[in-house]
Amino acid sequence: MKPAVVLCLLVGFLASIGQAQERPYFVTYSHEMEEPGNLEIEFFNAVGKPPAGNRFIGSNIEFEYGATSWWTMEFYLDGQVTQHDSTIFTGYRWENRFRPLLREHWINPVIYIEFENINGGDKALREVVGHDGKQDVSGPNAEVRQEKKREMELKLILGRNYRGWNISENIIAEKNLANQPWEFGYAVGASRPLSLAASAHNCTFCGEKFQAGVEMYGGLGDRYSFGTNQTSHYLGPLINWTAPNGITFSFSPQFGLNDYSIPRLYRFGVSYEIDQLFSRFHRGAR
């Protein structure tokens, strides 16, 4: 009940301000940066049930700000609710993305650097690395929250836009700073708007308002056991829709591809972009 209330409040609040249209990915990052001066607020959730555990909803709220055309920063707050257990705050993340090449090329790299201060109860599943699997979301909250994870995560984001399609690939390396080995993962996605040309008239459900695609991600072991042995992988279709008031709703059913994965995940998200955040406070601003 609580997440639903929070969602309604958030939607109601955001309905009064700006607009956005984002790629429908939940895990994969595209090379597209936040527009300079804009703040995007995103609320993402993952619902799942591990075979030996309770149903959960892992959530995070993200504040993404375009510092410049080539530098985007983002702050995350994570939490989760587990059925028959409890609701807990699981930590925060701080990331920066830099685009080293300032023009559009055949393939466009972006460097991603993130610091995470989360605990073992985190179920937002914003990335899968190492040997992450269904056992990591099965333990009781009182126990798993004792595990502290101060981690540094690096990603190489590669992306391309071609004939309306966006194709993105992320190569992930993550290290728990408490002397744990580097863990690796990947995420790939492709998406495009349902209609490439915009309509001449205002519309609510026209093709340009929808984006659809597919996403796959998973772990690649760690420094001592690199590969796909005992790693989890997920695949799922994606869709999002941008309402006339600018709020974007995203949804994806995702399927675990092996016995090590959570069998099914249902992801949904709401995002909203506030244009030119700080210029709103300047004297004489429109």
């Binding site: 607009q19 790629r23 595209s30 597209e32 940066m33 527009e35 300079p36 001066g37 375009g66 410049t68 055309s69 080539w70 685009r99 300032l102 023009r103 559009e104 836009n161 004939r163 309306g164 966006n166 495009r192 708007p193 490439l196 040309a197 915009a198 309509s199 001449a200 008239h201 205002n202 340009e208 244009d275 030119q276 429109r286």
Partner: protein
Amino acid sequence: MTLRLSLTLLLILLPAGIVFGAADGSWLENVPTHDHEKTNPYHDQADAIAAGRRIFVDRCSHCHGENAEGTKKRPPLKSERMQHGASEGDLHWLLVNGNMRKGMPSWARLPDQQLWQVITYLKSLHD
């Protein structure tokens, strides 16, 4: 010690150079010939002007003004250079690549069709 000092100066000056020292003059000089010569499939079409206006209001007006008149920090798009100095192909190149050193983002996230619609709208503006 000298090496450390040099590296420190390099680390400070390199980003500063990228941000402030990249006076690339007019972006028009950077447009390759084949981009300059691209033609707009929606040239002068009324529907494309209307669609381009919608996209412009959603995406561009926050920086360039509701009617492309410009704002304190961002240039007007009704200028002589935009209307006559730049071809439609030049504007397409600018939208795809942006001018990131000067704060103009890349709009390659929009499909080509929508970029051409915006250009059709911009070219329909006259003082």
